[in-house]
C-alpha cells in the first residue's frame, strides 16, 4: 500500500516535469505519465477500497470509518465518506481527467501538452497534500476488533453517489482551467472548443451531484426542505453557477470569438470556486454534516494551494490576456448580448451566494460580531437576480449571432407567452393562498418550457445536424430549469405541514390527507434498531395505504437518525417524519404535504439530460462540419 503511494508521488512528479516542453518527446512523456498516474492512482484507490471491503482494521482509516456490521454498499461508499478517502477520490478523478485529456488529444498538440502540464502540477500538489496531511493508509497497532462505523446520515444510497458526482464536477472544472491556462501559455486559439466536453461533463456531474444532495437532504434530514442555504450546499452551488456561465460564454467564444478574455477568466473562476468549495468543506471552517475533517493544517494547506492556483492563474492572465485581445464585433441586439447578460446575472447570483456564505466568517474574524445569513437573505437577493435571468433565457436561442431581430424574436415567442399566461391563470385558479411570487414563478416556468418546445419544433428537419443537436440540447436544459422552478415554487409556497403529539389510534390531518397513527414497533435492521411507526393513510373509513417512518439507532456509531416515509403521486408528496417518544405510546409526528416537490429533481435531471445530449451531439457528430450557421463574417 505504501508502495502504491510512493509510486503515485513519482507519477505526480513526472507528470509535472513531462509536459512543460514543446518537443515531441516531451509530449510523449507527458501523455505516458498521465496514463501512468491514472494507473497508479486507480491502484491506490483500489487497495483502499479493498481494505474497506474486507474490513481490514489494521488500516486506521478503515477502523475509524467502517464496521463489520455495515452493508457492503456502505463499506464501499465509506471509502469516500471521510476526509482522507475523499481526497484520494479527488485525485483519482483528476487522474481520470488527465488520462482523458491525454487520450482524446483535443486541440493542438502544444495546447494538450500544456494542459497536461497544468494538470500534473495540480495532481502533484494534491498528492503532497494527501501524503503529508491526510495519508489514508496509516496503520494501527494493536489492531482493533471492530470499527467505529460511518455516520448513519451518510449511510444512504443517494449519498453513496453524491460525493463522486460532485467531485467529477469539481475536478472537471480543473480540465477547463488547465486548458485555459494552457491557452494563455501557448497563445493558442480553439481552447474553448477543445475544453468544451470537459466543461459539459463537469456541468452535468455538478447538476446531478447537487440534485442528489438536495434530494438526500429532503428525505433524510426530516424537516421537509430541499435546500437550506447551508454553507456547504452553497459551496457546491457556486461552481455550478460559474460553470453555467462558462458554458454559455465559451459558446460565444467558440462561435464568434467574442468574450475571449472573459471566458478565460471564468474558467479560472470556475476551478477557483471548486477549490474554495473544497476548502470550505474540508477545512472545518464550517462545520456541518459534510465536514468530517476539522484539522487546521489541512485547511491551511488547501488555502495555500488555492492562493497558488488562483494567484498563478491570475498572474498568467494579467500577463498574457492583453495579447489575446481582439473581441469580435456584434450588434446590441444579438445572441452575443444575451449570453453576456446571462453571464452578468449568473456572476451576480454567484456573488450573492459567495458573500452570503463567507460574510459571517469574515465579519466574525474582523470584528467578532456574529450574524447568521439564512434563507431570508437569499430569498431577497439570489431569488430576484435568478428570476430576472430566467426571464431572459428564452430570448437567447431566438436571436441570431452578431445581429438579431428582437421584434421578430418576440413574435415567434407569442405561443410561449400564451403558455406563460395560461400557467399564471391556472395557478390563480387552483392554488391557495394566491401569491405574487407563485404566480410569477409559474408564468416564467410556462415561458421557459413553451419557448423550449418552440425551439425544438422550429429546428425540426432544418439546419445542420450538429447545430440542431446543440439547439435541442439547450432547449431540453432550459425546459428542465422551468420544471425545476415549478417544483421549487410549489414546495416553497404551498407546502402545508402539521406537527402533533399522537397516541395510538389518533387521527391527524395535513393538507387534504387524513392520517391514523397505529402505534410504534421495534424492528431490527442490518446494523441498526428502529422504532417504526405505522401510519395509515385514510380514505373515509378505509385504509388507503400504510406508511412507516422510522427512528433508527445505530449502535456501532452510537447515533440516531430519522428515516422519513414519503408517498408521492408524482405531483404531490406526503412526507412523514417520526419525532420523539413522549412516553405512554405517544409520539410526535411531523407531516408535510409538498405540492410538486418531485419536479425539483425531475427538473434537475432534465437539465443534466440536456447537458448529456449536448455532449453526445458533440462527440458523435465530431466531424469537420463547420459550426457557423451561415452568419456572414465581418
Amino acid at each position: 500500500m505504501c508502495f502504491a503511494l510512493a509510486l503515485s508521488l513519482v507519477m505526480a512528479a513526472s507528470g509535472l516535469m513531462g509536459a512543460r516542453a514543446t518537443a515531441a518527446t516531451a509530449r510523449a512523456v507527458a501523455n505516458g505519465s498521465a496514463l501512468g498516474m491514472l494507473v497508479f492512482t486507480v491502484l491506490a484507490f483500489g487497495v483502499l477500497t479493498y481494505a474497506f471491503v474486507i474490513s481490514d482494521f489494521s488500516v486506521a482509516l478503515v477502523a475509524e470509518h467502517s464496521s463489520i456490521l455495515k452493508p457492503m454498499v456502505y463499506k464501499i461508499s465509506g471509502v469516500w465518506g471521510n476526509h482522507e478517502g475523499s481526497m484520494l477520490l479527488w485525485v483519482l478523478v483528476l487522474a481520470l481527467y488527465s488520462g482523458l485529456v491525454a487520450v482524446l488529444q483535443r486541440g493542438g498538440a502544444r495546447l494538450t501538452s500544456a494542459a497536461l502540464g497544468i494538470q500534473g502540477l495540480l495532481a502533484a500538489a494534491f498528492f503532497l497534500f494527501i501524503i503529508f496531511t491526510s495519508n489514508p493508509f496509516l496503520r494501527l497497532d494493536p489492531i482493533p476488533f471492530s470499527g467505529a462505523g460511518l455516520t448513519p446520515l451518510l449511510q444512504d444510497p443517494g449519498l453513496a453517489l453524491h460525493p463522486p458526482m460532485l467531485y467529477i464536477g469539481y475536478v472537471g472544472l480543473s480540465a477547463s482551467f488547465a486548458y485555459a491556462a494552457a491557452a494563455m501559455m501557448v497563445g493558442e486559439e480553439g481552447w474553448a472548443r477543445a475544453a468544451r466536453p470537459f466543461m459539459l461533463i463537469a456541468w452535468i456531474a455538478l447538476t446531478c451531484g447537487i440534485a442528489l444532495g438536495s434530494w438526500w437532504a429532503y428525505y433524510e434530514l426530516g424537516w421537509g426542505g430541499f435546500w437550506g442555504w447551508d454553507p456547504v450546499e452553497n459551496a457546491s452551488l457556486m461552481p455550478w453557477l460559474v460553470a453555467t456561465a462558462l458554458l454559455h460564454s465559451a459558446l460565444a467564444t467558440e462561435r464568434t470569438g467574442a468574450f475571449r478574455t472573459w471566458t478565460l477568466l471564468l474558467a479560472i473562476a470556475g476551478f477557483s470556486m471548486s477549490l474554495i468549495g473544497t476548502f470550505l468543506v474540508r477545512s472545518g471552517v464550517l462545520s456541518s454534516v459534510h465536514a468530517f475533517a476539522s484539522d487546521p493544517t489541512r485547511g491551511f494547506f488547501i488555502m495555500v494551494l488555492i492562493a497558488l492556483a488562483i494567484g498563478g492563474a491570475l498572474a498568467l492572465f494579467a500577463w498574457r490576456a492583453p495579447s489575446l485581445q481582439g473581441g469580435a464585433s456584434f450588434a446590441p441586439v444579438s445572441r452575443d448580448t444575451t449570453l453576456l447578460l446571462n453571464n452578468v446575472f449568473l456572476v451576480a447570483a454567484c456573488a450573492c451566494v459567495f458573500v452570503g456564505t463567507l460574510y459571517p466568517l469574515v465579519l466574525d474574524a474582523v470584528s467578532g460580531t456574529k450574524i447568521s445569513v439564512g434563507p431570508p437573505y437569499f430569498a431577497l437577493t439570489f431569488a430576484p437576480i435568478f428570476f430576472a435571468l430566467l426571464l431572459l433565457v428564452p430570448l437567447g436561442p431566438r436571436l441570431a449571432w452578431k445581429q438579431g431581430d428582437l421584434k421578430q424574436a418576440l413574435r415567434t415567442l407569442y405561443p410561449a407567452m400564451g403558455l406563460a399566461g395560461i400557467a399564471a391563470l391556472a395557478v390563480l385558479a387552483i392554488a391557495s393562498p394566491r401569491t405574487v411570487a407563485g404566480t410569477a414563478a409559474f408564468a416564467v416556468a410556462g415561458w421557459l418550457i413553451g419557448a423550449s418546445v418552440l425551439d425544438v419544433r422550429k429546428r425540426q428537419g432544418k439546419g445542420k445536424a450538429r447545430a440542431r443537436a446543440a439547439a435541442f440540447a439547450a432547449a431540453v436544459a432550459h425546459a428542465g430549469l422551468g420544471v425545476c422552478l415549478m417544483g421549487v415554487a410549489g414546495t416553497t409556497i404551498w407546502r402545508s405541514e402539521a406537527l402533533e403529539v399522537l397516541s395510538p389510534g389518533q387521527l391527524m390531518t395535513v393538507g387534504p390527507y387524513t392520517l391514523r397513527f397505529d402505534g410504534v414497533t421495534r424492528v431490527e435492521g442490518p446494523n441498526y434498531t428502529a422504532d417504526r411507526a405505522h401510519v395509515a393513510l385514510m380514505d373515509g373509513d378505509k385504509v388507503k395505504a400504510v406508511m412507516a417512518p422510522e427512528h433508527r439507532f445505530y449502535p456501532a456509531e452510537g447515533q440516531d437518525l430519522t428515516d422519513t416515509a414519503i408517498r408521492t403521486t408524482g405531483l404531490r408528496d406526503l412526507y412523514l417524519a417520526l419525532g420523539d417518544d413522549r412516553g405512554g405510546g405517544k409520539y410526535t409526528m411531523r407531516a408535510y404535504v409538498s405540492p410538486l416537490a418531485p419536479l425539483i429533481w425531475i427538473g434537475g435531471l432534465i437539465m443534466a439530460l440536456g447537458g448529456m445530449l449536448s455532449l453526445w451531439g458533440r462527440l458523435r457528430l465530431r466531424s469537420s462540419e463547420p459550426l457557423a450557421q451561415g452568419v456572414p463574417a465581418e
Binding site: 477545512s283 471552517v285 488555502m303 464585433s329 456584434f330 450588434a331 451576480a348 458573500v355 447568521s372 445581429q403
Partner: protein, 145 residues
C-alpha cells in the same frame, strides 16, 4: 491567515459553551408555565411558525428552531410561544432574543453599517456587471456598424 482560521474555530467553540448551558437554565423554569405545544388559534399558530422560521437554532448548523430537533430549539420554541401568549409582538420577541443571544439568532441579518456590504454586494456586482456589459456591447457594435 492561519491564525484567523484558528480564531474562527475558537470563537465557534466558545459560542457553543453558553448555548449548551441554556437548556440547563430553562429546564427549571420553562415548563412551569403551561403553554401549549401548538396554539389552538390557527392565526396564532401560523404566526408562531413564521417567527420560529426566522430564528436560528444556536447549537445546530444552519437550522431554524422550527426545523431543529435539539433540546435547545425546543426550549426556544417554548419561549417564543410563551411570549406570544403574553401578548408580545413579533418585533418585541425578536428584540428580546437578540438582546439575549445577539444578532446570530436572526436568520435574516439586520441591515446595519457592518452588513451594508453584505446586502448590497450582489446588487453592486449586478450593476457593475451591467455597466461592463454595456461598455462591451457599445464597443462591439461600434466595430460592426
Amino acid at each position: 491567515m492561519k491564525n484567523s482560521v484558528f480564531k474562527v474555530g475558537a470563537l465557534l467553540l466558545l459560542m457553543l459553551v453558553p448555548a449548551f448551558a441554556v437548556p440547563l437554565f430553562f429546564a427549571g423554569s420553562a415548563y412551569a408555565v403551561p403553554v401549549p405545544d401548538t396554539f389552538a388559534d390557527p392565526a396564532m399558530e401560523t404566526r408562531a411558525r413564521a417567527l420560529q422560521r426566522q430564528l436560528r437554532c444556536l447549537v445546530c448548523q444552519g437550522e431554524s428552531i422550527d426545523e431543529s430537533r435539539s433540546p435547545l430549539a425546543g426550549d426556544l420554541r417554548h419561549l417564543v410561544r410563551e411570549q406570544m401568549a403574553a401578548g408580545k409582538s413579533d418585533q418585541q420577541i425578536e428584540d428580546y432574543l437578540v438582546a439575549r443571544y445577539g444578532d446570530f439568532i436572526l436568520m435574516k441579518p439586520p441591515l446595519q453599517p457592518d452588513t451594508w456590504l453584505l446586502w448590497l454586494a450582489p446588487f453592486l456586482v449586478l450593476v457593475a456587471g451591467g455597466g461592463v456589459a454595456w461598455l462591451v456591447v457599445k464597443r462591439a457594435s461600434a466595430g460592426s456598424a
